[in-house]
Every structure is written in structure tokens, then in C-alpha cells.
Amino acid sequence: MTDMRADAIPATKGSDNELRRVREEDQRLASERKKLVRDGPKLTGADLEARLERTWARPPGILGWLATVDHKEIGRRYLITALMFFALAGALALVMRLQLARPESNLISAQRYNELFTMHGSTMMFLFAVPVMEGVAVYIIPLMLGTRSTAFPRLNAFSYFMYLFGGVLLWGAFVLNIGPDIGWFAYTPLSGPQFSPGKRADVWAQMITFTEVSALAAAVVLVCTILKTRAPGMTLARMPLFAWAMLVQSVMVIFAMPAVALASSMLISDRLIGTQFYNHYEHGDALLWQHLFWFFGHPEVYIIFLPATGFVSVITETFSRRPIFAYPVVVLALVSTGILAFGLWVHHMFATGLPRVGYSFYTAASMTVSIPTALQIFCWLATMYDGRPRFKVPMLYVVGFIITFVIGGLSGVIVASVPLDLQVHDTYFVVAHFHYVLIGGAVFPLLGILTYWYPKITGRMMSERVGKVNFWMVFLGFQLAFFPMHFAGLLGMPRRVYTYPAGLGLELPNLLSTIGAFVVALGVLIFVLNGLLSLYRGALAPADPWGGSTLEWATTSPPPPYNFPHVPVVSSKAPMWDLGGEFPVVTGLRVDQKETLLTTVVSATPDLREPIPDPSLWPFIASVAVGILFISSIFSPWALPFGAIPSAIALTAWFWPKELKREPEPVIT
């Protein structure tokens, strides 16, 4: 087994007749292979681009829309869908803030309030924060890596539809008044059969199943894309930091998400078929839920945060006009955060009572994880200090991020200490802390990077002036909304309670929070309007409006369906800054069939030519079949065997070639 090639093994085994036939066929295909059209010095420029356009365009119409495998289309859908869920969950937050604006308010009932915070948290975590990062990555990573498609584009399409159906399930249930009311972490026994009769908890648990399948599929797509499809020469040591962040994030998804999928499956089976995993009376344990949930839930916050650090690295580099200071340190910080994140989950459970050594270990681990994050922050500051920073809107968000995240990080480090944690556990102090790290740490960089990549995605610029206005509204409004919560928490205000009595000093912080929340909402609204209006009225964007260093700026804005006419070659960390007038490319890829280049994992030397699948309706049909299985299993265990049959058929049809004849070179039909 010295040669690992699989496409050039001579046929030597079989009956004489068959061997003769196969050899003749091999020869015929080999001669046809010579006639295939490929890009190169003789086929370049407008001629090549017109032909690639024909090959890579998808069929028009609704069926073509459902069948698309273009990562840019799927990424855009991810982004738009996630932003809509962000708006919906934000609207719920406003309703909650109205309720809490004054003490003993009767605006909404306790039950409705339970639903509101459950929907807000679940939507923000599962339907906004993770998918939006995946959406950005699915769109931009192939462009950044200089390739034509993600790996497994049909799986990518499938992952989007699963995500969409999960979101529709949750919000459909909410509208029908069977939305979950058990909090975003759905602790047992509250979520178990005894205390949550009806279907509210099951809806929550199956929404988890949908979004986990989706996130896991997207993670595999991203890992394979990042490891195998980088432009020749883009060794791991030259990979853009956003790609590093997404690689670590995706690996974390792969290890963390199975925990919540397992936990929620066990919850459903407790509720539906009477297993006893979480039932104390039959020797189950509610804490088993907490362990499994937080084994996912803690890495989850880094799953949301690490892509955002990638955004910050990208923006800081471009707007400081200098490569990121101490690139290896940033990479190692990402990797070590990814590892440490799995050793912290128990700090969410300090109040459940632990052995002494458990307290000490998880306190130490929780404090340790701040080290790599702090290193990254110092690297960004050093980059700015040593560069020539331009404070355009994306860069303002980076500054807002650093200030806000550092405050949230500090309140995080102090609650790693058990005595303090026990005091502020389940109070608004914790609510303040995690909004500082999640909004400051993820949403600010996200708004920055959306402004930054908006011209690449749409071909137009967002208004800089309006962008500055909404930055200040979001930034200052945020501080007004969440800083007072620290005090409300220290005064003893518990989270998740629909009202509070007058006269405890809670009126002022709550009123300020409500005012701040509305300022943020107005700021976000202006951001959205800016985005919508700029689609028509924004200045036309050139290929590289900001002077970025990475390959997404080498192609037009917006990029053509095939991304790059020729596959680029890279010889530094900042290929666009080191061009020297000419753009090095490799050639020889097929033009009349979709083909991309695979490179080796570490050194990114050309390895294989890989066909890219044609558009197909099967991922959509498969997601409908699996969706029916998941939703009906809320009601009956028999959904599992019976729902599995159409799912298996759809998945088989997805894989099965349309024509069973040999091609000169592989195609995926």
C-alpha cells in the first residue's frame, strides 16, 4: 500500500470478460480525460469567467433556491435567519424590561414571564448566537481560504434547514401558547414529567435536537473546509486568525454538543417512555442533568466567544494596518481556551454543594481560563499601539468590545470564587456578568464584522455616519442597561422572578436598565435600517474597500458563484498586503464541471482535485423527513422507527448518483 492513489489502480482482479471490458473502459475514459476543459494561461479572463459562471450558477426559481449548495447563499440565509431570531428575542427582552421598569407591576403574568425569559435565553443561545457565527463562517471562510466551496456543501444546506425548522418549532409553539417555560437550561426536576406536564418542555428539548444536529453538521463542514481546502501555500502557520478561531470553535462544538443532545434525549425519554434518569425516587439524579447540560453549556459560551475573537483579530489587523502582534500567542490562546473551556462546567453548580476539592479545582480552572483571553487582549492592544489605527465603525466596535468584555471578564473572575458565587448565585449580578461577556464579547464584534464584511456580501457600503450613531447608542445604552444590574444583584434581586417589591432600593437600577434596553434596541434598529437602506443607496463597494490582508478581498464584491477564477497561491500570513503587483495562482481545475482543490492538512500542498456536488433537493427533503421525525417524537415514541424510514430513504437518495455510468473524472450529481 505504498501508493494511496485510488483512481489509477490497474484492474487485475475479476473474470477475463469483465477485466477486458473494464480495461477498455479505463482506456476510453483516460483519453476522454485529456479533452476536458481546464483553466490555465490559455483559458483565463472574461472567457473563463463566463464559462465558470455557467457551470457554477444554480437553477433559477424556488426549486433552485431550495436546492442550492452555494456556501454564500447558505451563509446569507443563516445570517438573515439568525438576525431575525435576534430581533425576536430582543423584543421579548424589551417586554421583560417593561415589566420590571417599576415594582409590583402587573403588565404580564408570572407564567407568561417564565415563557418570556425561557424563549429569550433559548433563542439567543441556540437560534442566534451559535448559528450567526456559523453563518458568518460559512459565508466567509471559503473566500478567506481561497477556495470555491465549503466541504460537503449539501450537508451545509441540510444544516441550515435543520436550524430553520428548530427555530420554527420553538416559535410556532410559543405563538400557539405551548412554548417552553422552564428556563434556557431546563433544570430537572422542574422540566421533568412531574413538574412540567403538557408539551412545553418537550418542545424545548426537540428544539435542542434540531439545533444540535444543525450545529454539529456545520462544525464538521467547517473543520473539513479549514483543514483540507486552504489555498496552496496557506500552511497552518499562515492561516488567518478567524479560520483558527472557527477551527477551534468547530472542534469544541463536536465535543460539547453531544452532551446536550444526550441530556435532552434522556429528558424526552423520561417524559415520554418513563425512563428514570433524572427521577430521584428511582435512583436517578437531577444533578446528572446539570452535569451533562453544563458540560455543554460552559464550552457553549466559548463557542460563541471564540469566533468573535476571530472577528476582533480581523478588524484590528485591517484597521491598524499591521499584522496581529504575536500571532502564535493568539493561536495558542485560542487553542488553550478551547481546551480549558471543558474543565470549568462545575462552576455553574457551586450552589449545589460539592466536595471541597471540587470547589478548589473548579475555582482554579475558572480563573485560569482568563489567562489566554487576557493574552489575546494584550495582543490586540499591542497591535493597535504599534500600528496606525483608523477608527472606522468596525474598529469602534472593537474598542467597545475590549472595554465591555474586560468588565465582564473581571466580574467573571471574581464569581469563580466560591464564597462570592454563593452570595450572588441566581441574582442579577450574574445576569449582568453574562450579558457583559456575551453582548460585549460576541454581539459587539458581530456588529463590527457585519459592517466590515457587508460590502463583500452585498457589493455596497453601509453609511459610516449612521454606523457611528448606532455604535454609540448600542455601546452607551448597553452600559446603562446592564451596569445597574450588578447593584440590583448585590442588593439581592433574584433573576427569573417576574416582579419585585417596592422599597428595597431596586427601583432605580431597574428603571435605568429598562431605559438602557430601549436605547440599545433603538441602536440595533438603526443598524438594521442602515443595512437595509444601504442595499439600495449605499456607495458601490470596490473589491477591497478597507485594504484588508486576506483573500476574501481578492475577489469582486459580491463574489461570483465560483469565488475565484483561478485558485490563488499564498506565501505569507497577509497575502493581499504582499502581492507585489501580480496575483499568483494555480491552474488545471475543470471549467465545465464544478471542481475545487484539496490541499494537505498542515503544509497546504496540492493534494487532490475534488468535485463539488450539483445543486440537489435531497438535503431539503431529508431535513423535512428528519424534521417530521423529531416533531412527531414529541407525541409518540413510535415516531422514531416509522420516521426513520423516510429519513433513511431521503439520505440514500442524496448520496445516490443520478446516472450510474462512469465519468472520465468524478462528478457528484
Binding site: 483512481d7 444526550l262 483561478h566 502581492l579 450510474l660
Partner: protein
């Protein structure tokens, strides 16, 4: 084209399929293996967590599952590695006739495994509703059954494809190679589950 291209290398002679880590699907399969492995590892953790709460294992009043069928299953799934390795080797040699002949053997072994698995479920000496111990035992066996079932269906589909002319294509040989790799993973994962269901309660 915005920038003037400088042509460096022509890759038209690059292969279109290779075995092992060059293959994109190899990495995809690895990804799914890790996902499943993480799921199983956490189910194992749940098993030991529940065990930690009990005075005895199996808990007092329960009998450990009957050894016979689980052991039969283990022997047969281990034996299945013989045709599995032969298929893997045949894929590397482009010995399509051997693949076409051996895949039905694996598929047949799969069917036998499902029959034995039925007896296993019947001889666990508990129902999943009894207590947390019973629930986790059933869960482990159920999870592994779905694992075997998915790869079995995959094998059937691949076999049907290998019976056609495209079976001679390099990419299909890589598929066959990777399907064998996956089957190894299925039986490897069974070994700790076998120990946990049948032997740890007997310690």
C-alpha cells in the same frame, strides 16, 4: 479577474481520489466518529454517575443481564472484522469482484447481529422504566443498536452501488475503504459497552 494572474503551477495531473487522510470524506467520517464517541463517552459517564449513587451494582434486588447473548454478539461482531479487513484490502487493490462478494457476508452478519440483539434486550433482566440503572443499561444497548443499524444501512446502500459499473471508480473504492474503517469503530465501541452492561455488574 481584478488582479493580473501569475500562473505558477498546472494541477491537471493531480489525482482525484486517494485513500486515507488525503480524502475529504475521511475527515468527515472522523468528525462524525468523534461526535458519536463524545456522545458515548458521556453516556458512559452517566452510567458511572448513576452507579456511584448505588450501594450495589446491579442495585439490590436486580440480577445482572444474562451473559450468553451479549457474549455471542461480541464473538460474532469480532469475527466480522475478518471479512471487513478483506473488503478493505480488496478496495485498495481495486478487487471489485471480491468486494461484491464479501459485502453481502458483512450484511448477513449484520442481520444475525440484530437477531441476537433482540435476545439481548429480552435478557437484560429489567425494563427501562424500573429504575435509573435499568434506564442507562437500556440506553447504552439502544444507542449501540442504532450505531450498528446506521452502518448496516450504509453498507447495504454501498453494496448496491458497488454492484453497478461505477463500483470500478476510484471514489467508490475510497467509500468502501472508509465504510470498513467505520465498521471497525462500531465494533470497537461495543467492547466497553459489553463490559459495562455484562461484566461490571458481575464484579
Amino acid at each position: 479577474m481584478i488582479h493580473t494572474p501569475r500562473f505558477t503551477e498546472d494541477l491537471s495531473e493531480l489525482p482525484t481520489s486517494k485513500f486515507g487522510t488525503s480524502s475529504l470524506t475521511w475527515w468527515g467520517i472522523l468528525g462524525f466518529m468523534v461526535i458519536e464517541g463524545a456522545g458515548f463517552a458521556l453516556a458512559f459517564a452517566a452510567y458511572f454517575f448513576i452507579m456511584g449513587h448505588e450501594q450495589g451494582w446491579p442495585p439490590e434486588g436486580r440480577r445482572a443481564p444474562e451473559l450468553l447473548y451479549g457474549t455471542l454478539f461480541t464473538i460474532l461482531i469480532l469475527l466480522s472484522e475478518i471479512p471487513n479487513s478483506m473488503i478493505k484490502k480488496a478496495a485498495h487493490e481495486r478487487d471489485v469482484p471480491a468486494i461484491r462478494l464479501l459485502m453481502p457476508v458483512i450484511i448477513g452478519i449484520g442481520i444475525a447481529l440484530f437477531v441476537i440483539r433482540g435476545f439481548e434486550f429480552n435478557n437484560l433482566n429489567c425494563r427501562w422504566t424500573d429504575d435509573a440503572y435499568s434506564s442507562i443499561i437500556w440506553a447504552l444497548l439502544f444507542l449501540h443498536t442504532t450505531h450498528v443499524l446506521t452502518d448496516w444501512i450504509d453498507t447495504v446502500v454501498l453494496w448496491a452501488l458497488m454492484m453497478t459499473d461505477v463500483g470500478w471508480e476510484g471514489r467508490r473504492l475510497v467509500d468502501t475503504d472508509e465504510n470498513s474503517l467505520y465498521w471497525r469503530y462500531v465494533w470497537l465501541l461495543w467492547l466497553p459497552i459489553y463490559a459495562m452492561i455484562y461484566w461490571i455488574p458481575r464484579l
